[in-house]
């Protein structure tokens, strides 16, 4: 049971697949025996990343989204990937409250949530090249302290 377990899923960039994305990640990581809070943290992070791919990456047009998840013991690694428009300035995009779609009531807090709810976050992107969001979380670690 100690060897890594990996899954890759590809699905259409449509809003109704957001809940599907949350469930598949949640069910794939059940072997880590998480608490409700840990699963909810991971689902929130996945939701934010998938929503970004749909709304920003493909601007609500057709496209594919890929999620890769690797579980080893109680370590969870999640990658959310799109081949959409990409991000020219990743550092700026990751700043709290920064959004390029203020007209859609976007909060600009997506990346901040991913950072808060996961242990580690990395974003790889360039204009026209699509985006990869990489997230790590250790299940069973002492709960982080949110202010």
């Amino acid at each position: 049971m100690n060897s890594a377990n990996e899954m890759n899923v590809e699905f259409d960039s449509v809003a109704k697949n957001e809940s599907f994305a949350r469930v598949i990640v949640a069910s794939f990581i059940t072997s880590t025996n998480p608490t409700l809070e840990e699963v909810s943290d991971i689902k929130t992070a996945v939701s934010e990343a998938v929503t970004n791919a749909i709304i920003h990456g493909y601007e609500k047009g057709a496209g594919k989204i890929w999620i890769r998840t690797v579980v080893e013991d109680r370590s969870v690694y999640i990658e959310v990937r799109d081949k959409g428009i990409g991000i020219a300035d990743v550092k700026q995009a990751m700043e709290p409250l920064f959004t390029t779609k203020p007209e859609e009531e976007r909060s600009g807090m997506g990346f901040s949530f991913m950072e808060a709810f996961m242990d580690r976050l990395e974003v790889e992107s360039a204009a026209g090249e699509g985006t990869v969001v990489k997230m790590w979380k250790e299940i069973g670690a002492p709960a982080p302290h949110y202010e």
Binding site: P34, T35, L36
Partner: protein, 77 residues
């Protein structure tokens, strides 16, 4: 506020496996009640309406309880 935080924290320590079991029990009761009411099997949407759970949680809960069932079968068999 300290109280609420402690409540949330305690609540957060609940294992998902336990919630799924509880939901599974609620779903099987709902299934029986709706079968009685409509004279046919309820759809996922109807079960979600009746229990207040989302369809994804219903799918996960029924899977979790399937596992419990099969473990029990192995022990008894």
């Amino acid at each position: 506020a300290g109280e609420i935080k402690r409540f949330l924290r305690d609540n957060g320590a609940i294992k998902v496996s336990r919630i799924l079991k509880q939901n599974g029990y609620q779903i099987s009761k709902a299934k029986e009640a709706l079968l009685h009411k409509y004279g046919r099997e309820a759809t996922l949407d109807e079960l979600a309406d009746y229990t207040g759970l989302c369809v994804e949680d219903i799918v996960m809960a029924t899977e979790a309880n399937r596992e419990v069932e099969s473990i029990q079968q192995t022990i008894c068999g």
